[in-house]
Structures are given as C-alpha cells and as structure tokens.
Amino acid sequence: MSDATGKISIACTVNGKRVTLRAFPMERLLDVLRSNLHLTGTKEGCGEGECGACSILMNGELVNSCLVPALHADGASITTIEGLSLGDALHVVQRAFLECGGAQCGICTPGMVLAAVNLLERAPSPTEAQIREGLSGILCRCTGYMRIFESVLQACRASGIHK
C-alpha cells in the first residue's frame, strides 16, 4: 500500500541483511541502493541498461538495477559488490582482478566482478568464448577486455586450487 506521498514499503534482503525501506514503486533499484541504503558501489553509467555498471545479483540472477523498479525488489534477495567480500577477505574473483589488471578506472568493475562471479557460478570452467559472451553486457572503455578475461581465467584456476 502506498502512503500519501506514493511511497511503498519494500522488504528485501541486501547482502545478507534484512532491510525495510520506503520508496516510490517505479523508483530505480539503483537509486534505492545508492541513496536509501548508501551502497554506492553500484554505479550509474548510462541509465538505459546498456553499460552494465549498475549490475547486481537479484535472487541469484544478474540484472541491471537501473531497469528494476523498486516494487520488484520487494521480497528479493540482493547482492551488491559490497556483499561480495567478507570483511577484508576478497572474493577469488576480486583477487584475480587485482592480480591481472582487470580494473583500470574502476567504474565498470563492480558490475564486471559481479557478472564474472555469476558467470562462474553458471559455468565453472568457461572457455574464452563463453567469457566473452557472458560478460558482453558490461561495457568497459579502459581495458579492451583482455585483462578482464585473464582475471576470470585466473579466478577459475585459483578456485580449482582451493577446492
């Protein structure tokens, strides 16, 4: 039910924590995350679902948060880049990005890292072609993508070692 301003109550889980907040139903989930929850790791690059800088995981699926209305976040389980590392311990994909130069200016990095994490969950041992396609929804202007592919392959290798 919306209140006099038109805002509704949204209850969801964000990075493992139960959260209740008020937002306009058509408000972008991107803005809810950044402004209401002060989780600024998720970025706006285009507002049209092209660049993927706003990518998050919603119910385990990669989505462009600039295209998700707040209403659809109700009841959802959301993971942003902030939810990936545990304290100071980096996720294996984050570590690989550091080692292999997968981040340059860093603005696409949160979306790219989450996309890579999601890709590896669906395809633990992807070929380079699968990586290219799996990450094709995140645009990077700095790297030419080569260092990013290296990072993903490195993350695969590192995951294998630690299993």
Binding site: T40, G41, G101, G106, R141, T143
Partner: protein
C-alpha cells in the same frame, strides 16, 4: 622488496576499486547539498530574445543563475578566452548552456529544466569544414579559422617534376565520443567569504583552478579543486570539467549550499567535447624505386563553435602528419576551423589519430602505385637515427622501425596469410585481409610546451614515516598512482607499501601540469623520481640514515626528521633536457623530447553478406623506452587499440543541425567484449635517458595506428579503397557496390 619498476605491481587503489569502496563524485553527499542542472540551447546559432519560465513550477524555491550572476569574466579560461560559461545573448552551438537551476528535489529540478523556454531568432549556420573554409557564413573571428600552421621543408613544388609517380588522396575521419563510463560530475561549495571549492571527475585540477579563479575574480588561494576517483577520461575530462565546475560553483555561490551536478549519459554525449573531425588531403611524389620525394599535406580540423584546445590538437596532428618517414620535401598546411557544433576537444591521440589515419592509408596507396608491398615501401622510407623529421627534428634516439615492422609481420603471419587469403577469397563470401600501420607518438607537450608548463612535483615524509607523492597528475585508470609509487619506492629504496599518493588537491599539491599528452610517466614521473632522490639525499645528509637501510629504518628516520624539523619535503621543477630547441614561429625544431614508435597489424574478415568487418587478430609491436609496469602498460595498449577499433568500425556520431542525435549508448556503438579480437602486445625498450628508469610516454600511442591498419586490411580483403572512417557496414556496402556496378 626492491626493484618495483619493471614489475606488475598491483594497482595502488585496486582494492578500493574491486570492492566498490572507491568514491567517485556521485558517491559523495554533503550536508544540505542540493542538485543542479543546465538549461541549454536547442538551436545551433541565434540571438536569444526571451527566456520564459512556465508558471506550473514553484520558481521561488529554485536558485537560478544566468550570465549576469558571474562575478568575474564570463568565460571558461583556457587558451583564448572565447568560450562563454553561460550564453550572454548569443547562441553558437546546440546544447550551449544558457541558464542554471538548483533545487533539493532532483525530480522537480528536471521538471523545472523542461519548463524553461529559451526563445531565439535563428541565425545562419555552418556545419561542415567545406562551408566553414568557404565562409558561407563567418561564425567566428574574421574568417572562421581558429589557427593555422605552415610547416615547410625543402621544396615540395620542385619535386613534382622530377618524380616518377604523384599520388593524391583525400581522407576523412568522423567525430568520436570519449564515452568514459563515469559521466561528468562536480560538487561545489562556494561563497564570497571563503571562496570556491570543487570536487569532481577530472584530469587537470589546475586547469579547473585557473578557470574558476578567472570566472569568480578570486585570488588563487581562494580557489580549491580536488579530484575525486575518476571513472575514465581519455581527454574528455581534460578541459570540459572546467565548464561543469564553473556551473556547479555559480549555483553554490548564489544558493549558499553545496551543489552537486552529475550529467546523465544523454547530456554528456550531446553537450560535451568529442574528437575533432578531420579532412586530410595528400599529394605525394615518389620515385620508381619507392623513395618519397615530397609530401604535400593539407590537414583541416573541425573545431566546433569555440577555439578551446583546437590550436594544440592541430599542432600535434600537424607534427605527426608526415609520420615515421624520412622525406626531403614536406609541406603541411594545417587549419582548425569553426562550425556551429559543440566545441570539439581533447581525446587520446589529440590530432595524431586523424593525421596518421590519412598518412597510413595513403602510404598503402602510394605503395600500390609504385608496385611495392605496403611493408617494402615503408621499409625504404622509415626515418633512421640522426635523420631529420618533417619539422626539422634530428632523431637522436635509437629508432629501428624496420625491425619493429619485421617483428610485427612475423608475429602476425602477415605474408603467409596475405597469400593464403588471396587464394581463398575468390568465390568466398567471407573475404579476409591483412593490413599494417607504422607510426609514432611524441610524448609530453609540443616544443617549448613543457618548459612553459614548468611543472613541479614533490615527495614528502609524514610524521608516520610514510612517503607521500605530491603531484597534480590524476589517476584516471591508466595507473598514475601505481607507477608513481613504484618510481618513488625504487628511488628511495623502500617498500612500495610505504609510498602513498596524495589526492590531487590544488591546495595540497604542486602544479605538475595536466594529465594529458602522454606526459604523466615520462615527464612527471621523472620529477617524482628526482624529488624522491632529493629527499633521500636530505635524510642521508642529516645523519639520521645510513646506507644500506631497511624500509623500517627509513621510516623511522623520516619520523625523527619530521619530529625535529617539522617537515621533510622535496620538490623538483621541470628542466628541459639539454639540446632541446623549438621555434614556435617557424614551427621547426625538437617537437617532442621523445617518441614511442610502433607498427601494428590487423587481420580482418569482411562478410559480404552483411558487410560487417570483424577484426580477428591484432598484433601491436611498440618501442617505449622502459615498461614500468607490464600489466598496466599492456592494459593501456589493449584499451587504446579497443578504442581505435571503435573509431575505425563502430563509432559514428550522427549529426543533425550540429547536434548529436544518437546520444544514447544504445545508438552510439562502442565495442563490447564480443566485438574485439585477441590483442597481442609486444614491447621493445630503448631507454630514454630523461624518463624515469628510461620510460617514454605510451598513453596515446595505441590509438594512433589501428584505424589505418584495419582499413588497409579491408582493402586487401576486398580490393576496395576506403578513405573515410568509421567504415560502417552501410559505407562498406555502398563502396563495394559502386565498384561492382
């Protein structure tokens, strides 16, 4: 623990970036902060007759700023102060800023922006280089010409008669949008008592500082500019941020509140700078054994509505126009002209991608006329050490273009593949081809530019024993923070982790010049190295430290020194290397202190069903002095090549009446990961004595060569000569069909 330079040390701020903790300007909020927006002209040229505010908006809640609110000079100070901060009666390009609004509610702010009507009497416009040169309308100055250069060497006109072949060609390049994934943004706090402070996405804090001081008529100490983590620049945040900072600061000044202005993608694409479109005409005299006798080059850039940086872009394009070749007779006539488009500006390469595209396409054409292969023709004309370039620079550094080319040819399988494709292409709807380009890129500011900048950089020790590098050079993804820390750590003989980079804040760091022109490592990195060595000498001289020492001993010595003397700081000012002479009048002399040299090879497939071109393999061989950080350097080259592939094949700005109409990422096409090939990078190193550990600049080099290499490959694949980029499938189709009619 030692020897960080030359190793792939992880990015200094990498952890923040991979965890999402790095703070870009839109991630910051200030108490009481309100939002700002810009009302812009919808026509390309005119006289403003009225500004109407529709009644449905509660205007009394808004801060409204016009040109009349500007305390100082209504201009964005750069070189010539011809670009107004806000229109004052006259409009000269679409999207020109007329008025600023601020309000706490971003939704209402946007409604208000739409509710301001700028009424104007249109004036006749000019949108092409041809119309501008023909002075269909004089829209700028006396003759629409921002700047012209004439470079002459030998006697070009005498050469036509004695040559065996004369080959002509005209080459066109389109505008290109920098498309940093983080749009432009600024936050300002300003009032007459305290002055102006801005935080934001930028490459050149001191450019912004200079512009704000003039706009507000404030002394230097009352203006402070702080660079926040910047999500890409590529030149697009060299000069434009001064405009946005001015706008945010004016709103802050008038409202008394912090003001945040963040462009959305559509505004950023339509209103801010792009790469200068160009037209280059070549006329070349050559002997029957393929020796260049004369290069006569007419190089023209479309500068948009105001001068801004066009003279400097023209300069670099002019000096690179004759490429890495020796030719006894050269004439380059260069002009930057005005049109009624938003001013074009800095974009990686800065004039060189334009003139090198023309040259390297043309060299293939000349080779064909003489009956030589593209490689062999170039081999006979590469400039050698101790020969003189077109602008009269004796190339003193070691250069071996033939060797670079041989390596590139071998690594790419050029010869064998060319033969195989020639045999397999007939009857196949997929046509394959190889193409190459040879080029160089001068590092640092042209001629006396570095001397004029007189950059200063420094290092200091904190009371915690940590070393801070002090410079205005910004990290924009290229690796500034990391390489400076590597350089300083090596110079001081301490661990990399003991070196921090001070945030570029004009109140805290010296002016080490702009982060442009491939100068950050070679010029400023050298200053950092020298400053670090100076600090080390001071410590050793003080008796608090003796060699050999550990990192801990060094840190303790710093702490003691600072405790005893209050501060430990070493700054160094740029001194030109010995023997560098440049004449601004004749445009002759040592144009650049050092060059990086390269040969790139592209392998393409042209699909004659859809006319799409795919780059299948790309080999890049370059000589760069010293590779300071292999992963970062490789990343720079790969990224530049990716942007150049976009420049060659995908990135098309669609103009209508001076306005970019495809100003969305859906319709302005940059390559995705699925569009790019494996890019194979190879470095050679001939240390440059005046660069840190021998390093030269590499930031722009990789965007200069791929476009002509690709279009040369398309010609080999299809037999069709294309002289204009981007080569979209539509263009390729028209060209192929014209040939087969």
């Amino acid at each position: 623990m030692t020897g960080f330079v030359g190793k792939s040390i992880p990015r200094k701020e990498g952890r923040e970036k991979v965890t999402g903790r790095a703070k870009y300007v839109d991630d910051l909020t200030f108490p009481g902060m309100i939002r700002g927006t810009t009302v812009r002209s919808s026509i390309a040229r005119g006289r403003i007759t009225a500004i109407r505010f529709e009644p449905e908006i509660p205007w009394s809640e808004f801060t409204i700023v016009t040109a009349r609110d500007i305390p100082g000079k209504n201009c964005i100070a750069l070189i010539l102060d011809d670009q107004p901060c806000l229109c004052d009666g006259r409009i000269n390009h679409p999207e020109e800023p007329v008025l600023l609004l601020a309000h706490p509610d971003p939704y209402l702010l946007e409604q208000a922006r739409r509710a301001v009507r700028v009424e104007a009497e249109p004036l006749p416009t000019v949108f092409t280089i041809e119309d501008s040169l023909a002075r269909k309308q004089v829209i700028w100055g006396e003759d629409n010409i921002f700047k012209s250069f004439l470079v002459q060497r030998g006697d070009v006109d005498a050469a036509w008669k004695v040559s065996d072949f004369v080959v002509e060609g005209e080459y066109l390049t389109g505008a290109q949008e920098q498309l940093y994934i983080e749009p432009n943004g600024m936050i300002a706090v300003a009032n007459p008592n305290d002055g102006v402070t801005v935080w934001g996405s930028m490459q050149c804090p001191f450019y912004v500082h200079k512009a704000l001081a003039a706009l507000f008529n404030l002394p230097k100490e009352k203006v402070r500019v702080v660079q926040t983590e910047t999500g890409g620049g590529f030149g697009g945040k060299e000069e434009y941020p001064s405009m946005l900072a001015a706008h945010a600061a004016l709103l802050a000044w008038k409202s008394g509140k912090p003001v945040k202005m963040i462009y959305d993608r559509a505004e950023d694409m339509a209103a801010t700078t792009k790469r200068h479109p160009s037209r280059t005409r070549h006329r070349t005299a050559v002997t029957r054994d393929g020796k260049l006798l004369a290069l006569d080059i007419d190089f023209t850039l479309d500068g948009g509505a105001y001068e801004t940086l066009s003279p400097v872009v023209l300069s670099r394009g002019t000096i690179h126009a004759a490429g890495p070749y020796f030719c006894p007779n050269v004439r380059v006539r260069a002009r930057a002209v005005a049109t009624n488009a938003p001013p074009h500006g800095a974009f990686r390469g800065f004039g060189a991608p334009q003139s090198i595209f023309a040259l390297e396409r043309h060299m293939d054409r000349v080779a064909r006329a003489v009956g030589l292969s593209p490689a062999e023709f170039r081999r006979r004309n590469f400039i050698q050490q101790d020969q003189t370039s077109a602008v009269g620079q004796v190339i003193r550094e070691r250069v071996d273009m033939a060797r670079l080319m041989d390596r590139a040819l071998e690594l790419s399988g050029f010869e064998a593949k060319s033969c195989r494709f020639a045999a397999e292409n007939p009857g196949n709807h997929l046509k394959r081809g190889m193409g190459l380009a040879a080029f160089m890129h001068g590092a640092g500011f042209t001629g006396s530019g570095e001397e004029y900048l007189a950059s200063v950089a420094g290092v200091e020790a904190t009371s915690d024993g940590v070393i801070r590098v002090l410079s205005a050079s910004t990290e924009i993804g290229q690796g500034t923070n990391t390489i400076f820390a590597q350089i300083a750590a090596d110079a001081l003989g301490i661990p990399y982790d003991l070196v921090e980079i001070a945030q570029p804040d004009t109140s805290q760091v010296p002016n080490s010049g702009p982060t442009v022109a491939s100068r950050t490592c070679m010029v400023v990195g050298k200053l950092v190295e020298s400053a670090a060595l100076g600090l080390k000498q001071t410590l050793l001289g003080s008796g608090l430290l003796r060699e050999p020492y550990t990192g801990l001993e060094f840190a303790n010595a710093c702490k003691q020194y600072v405790a005893a003397r209050g501060a430990l700081k070493s700054t160094v000012q740029f001194q030109p290397p010995p023997g560098i002479h440049w004449n601004d009048q004749t445009y002759q002399g040592d144009a650049y202190a050092a060059y990086a040299w390269a040969v790139y090879v592209a392998e393409v497939t042209v699909d004659t069903v859809t006319f799409e071109t795919r780059v299948d393999d790309f080999v890049a061989v370059q000589e760069v002095g010293k590779v300071v950080n292999p992963v970062l350097a490789t990343g720079q080259i790969e990224g530049g090549i990716a942007q150049a592939i976009g420049y060659a094949l995908f990135e098309n700005v669609v103009w209508r009446e001076g306005r970019m109409v495809n100003s969305q990422m859906t319709n302005y096409i940059m390559p995705t990961s699925a569009d790019l090939p494996r890019i194979r990078i190879f470095f050679e190193e001939h240390p440059y004595p005046y660069g840190p550990m021998g390093a030269k600049g590499i930031g722009e080099l990789p965007i200069d060569g791929p476009a002509p290499a690709i279009v040369n490959a398309i010609e080999q694949a299809t037999g069709v000569s294309i002289t204009k980029i981007p080569v979209t499938p539509e263009v390729l189709m028209e060209t192929l069909e014209a040939v087969h009619v």
